[in-house]
Subunit: 443 residues, 2 copies
């Protein structure tokens, strides 16, 4: 039931779609459910995930937060199993479970000893079509969500700033609304909204089953057919209606000053194409550019701001490429004491301009590419992370072939592509966020 | 067929709802059409207006620009009268005609010698229900609108900045989209959109007929009943669906730098309640506050920035109160040569803080109120402006009684109300726009 931060200031493990190797099996049931099995025999455990191709960016207008609210309600019991029974069962088996809502997808998962895969499937299939949404459950749960919002966002200036930055970057597109929803919208969510949303999106055609672990693909697919196959098809995949972000050509600076801020921070966000919307090779070039600019201590930003000039205590950049629509490229820094955010802004703009003007050295390019591909390989060490990559990539409409080809496509990025990708890092396409202690803003 | 600028930098005559005196008659036909007659016997002419209670803020999501596009299409002919015939007729009678789309309404008007009122009614009633929207008309007209957008907005940095400022202020509410629409949306508008929009909004229940001029109310109402009364009722007034603007608590600075800018300019816009959304008396207090701060050469901003400190060549403030939803309070200035926009920003914030801290002198309050009420009286000199006030006020849901009571409600504003109204001028509720020549922005 976790919710990703609106703007993680370090790259989320959920983001890039980069695993390389495992022999993956896939199938589609007659009712439209997609199945992907990722064998991983290192331990006798299994990760069972169901991904729905709907996230907060599919929330109807004026109903922001409904995707996340529904995620909460999915734990409230079905016709056959009362609220809490599934969670208690998983806990009793020594397993883990969670669920998360993002802008483009919603997912539910359990990690259990492999012999318990069947029971996970049964409960998950059950709540795909038998959810009970009684009024006496919906209304109190809305209060839980409102309280979650008050605790996480409304009392946290950094999160409030992130919300305002996203709203400024996406002035019309729904990525501009927070996953948890705007308070005024959440307050209006009711049982009818939850029911309509559930009926629209919680269907086999809209779901992807990912099973990673110590399993044989054929057996998993057979089991899934026996359990999930009982759910009736609805006839088609739900439509995702996304407004195109207009071409705003002015720089926006969002400033939030609050007495609760102890450490100022700087971020700037560019509107860029995603793996789904970019021209061929361009998303990979943005990935390489992000890593070159701000991926770890060998990056340009870290070296210049933290090591050489000592004007920042942290700095980095990352590309949020796994998105259905045009997406975000971030650069961020935390100033050293006494350094203004304007100074960081100037320095970061200078470094980006330097890459645009002078390109990337072949040695740097080779290092960045090796590191990106290696990261993808290392990441396979985590079964959950691996399953997450497959789920997130497939949920935004990439194919297994796209996922498999990713390392090779990173390898083919040339220095000229990286330079060309800097064209997206145009101040006129960006929003900068300043988080400041209250006193500094009164100036 | 004119289109109001997204952000007029001087108060538009269309804005406040303030006429006082004339003996106005009103009626409602059985089909729901509202009729208001404003007698004005100074000259043998008549102004005939039809107002529809829909504007660009009622454009469906992803269809921004449809209200304005439909306004164009309303000149493209009906079953009985080909395109151009109505306009040629008015021109032949020595009359004037126009139409305009705003965020909350769309209106069509003719001004003719009084004996021609009947023919105006006949043509206007005809296109309320008999419009022909053939594909061969719709598509070329879309190109006309796109060209209008290119000429007015895309080639004008000031207008592009205004769009970006509005989009930043209204991050979810439709006032954030320009009346003409976003280019990407306009490109997707087709015949089906136009038809659906026409069918939804161009109905007698949604319309207000305003006739101002040398007429007798009873005769006008009889004539309207005979002509407009033939149109069938649709059953109900169309619904206006407006998303509530979330409570964003961060200041936003939007900067546009362009080589075409010769004169930098400064604006700051606060999100404030309108005559429709404010608590009792609060809109009137905002009106007085705006006039005190920036209404003409006796105002605080003008005296401080232009006369005393000579840091600006113009400065002012105004309140855009005639709106269905929460609206805008502007302060603006044009710097004297060599003065930075930051300097203007600091000075304007200081003047606002001064009113909040020290209030308004009774003599100033009396002068401002006298002036506001006098302006409303003087404005009745223009028959078109008078009709416009009635139309705009009624179209956002104010009553004839509200319009009549306005001068009295201004008179009752106390100094304490003006101070209290400054609470809305909080930087955290505002967007500031900087328009700069290209060179200055490279810093």
């Amino acid at each position: 039931m976790s919710l990703p931060a609106t703007v993680p200031l370090t790259p989320s493990a959920a983001t890039p779609a980069k695993p390389a190797g495992p022999r993956v099996a896939s199938a589609r049931l007659d009712n439209g459910l997609d199945i992907v099995v990722v064998p991983d025999h290192r331990a006798p455990v299994v990760t069972h995930m169901v991904w729905y191709r709907n996230g907060s960016a599919d929330d109807p207008i004026g109903k922001s937060g409904i995707a996340h609210f529904l995620e909460h309600l999915m734990f409230k019991g079905t016709k056959g199993h009362p609220a809490g029974e599934f969670s208690e069962l998983i806990a009793g088996l020594g397993g883990q479970e969670n669920a998360f809502t993002s802008t483009d997808f919603t997912a539910y998962f359990q990690r259990v000893a492999k012999e318990h895969l069947k029971i996970c499937m049964e409960y998950e299939a059950d709540r795909m079509s038998n959810l009970v949404l009684a009024g006496e459950v919906v209304v109190p749960e809305r209060e839980v969500v409102l309280e979650e919002r008050r605790m996480r966002t409304d009392s946290d200036p950094a999160d409030l700033l992130n919300e305002a930055v996203q709203a400024a970057l996406f002035t019309r597109h729904p990525y501009g609304s927070p996953v948890i929803g705007w308070q005024s919208d959440i307050e209006g969510l009711g049982r009818a909204d939850a029911l309509a949303y559930y009926d629209r999106f919680y269907t086999p055609e809209n779901a992807i089953l990912i099973v990673a672990g110590d399993v044989e693909p054929a057996a998993v697919i057979d089991l899934a057919r026996a359990i999930y196959g009982r759910i009736s098809a609805r006839g088609e995949t739900p439509k995702r209606i996304r407004v195109r972000e207009p071409d705003v050509r002015a720089h926006r600076l969002v400033t939030l000053a609050d007495p609760k801020v102890e450490q100022p921070s700087y971020q700037t966000v560019f509107l860029v194409p995603s793996y789904r919307t970019a021209a061929s090779g361009e998303a990979e070039a943005l990935e390489v550019l992000a890593h070159h600019l701000g991926g770890g201590p060998a990056s340009l930003l870290f070296k210049a701001l933290v090591i050489d000039k000592k004007i920042a205590v942290s700095a980095g950049a990352y590309y949020d490429g796994t998105a259905l629509n045009d997406t975000r490229f971030y650069a961020y820094a935390t100033p050293a004491p006494g350094v203004s955010l304007e100074t960081l802004d100037t320095e970061i703009a200078r470094l980006i301009a330097e890459v645009a003007a002078h390109g990337i050295a072949e040695a740097d390019l080779a290092r960045v590419k090796t590191r990106l591909v290696a990261d993808a390989v290392y990441a396979q060490d985590s079964q959950v992370a691996l399953a997450h990559w497959y789920g997130a990539s497939l949920a935004i409409g990439l194919s297994l072939a796209d996922i498999a080809a990713w390392p090779e496509r990173i390898e083919t990025v040339r220095a000229a592509d990286v330079v060309k990708a800097t064209r997206w890092l145009d101040a006129r396409r960006s929003v900068t966020g300043f988080l400041l202690p209250e006193a500094a803003a009164a100036a």
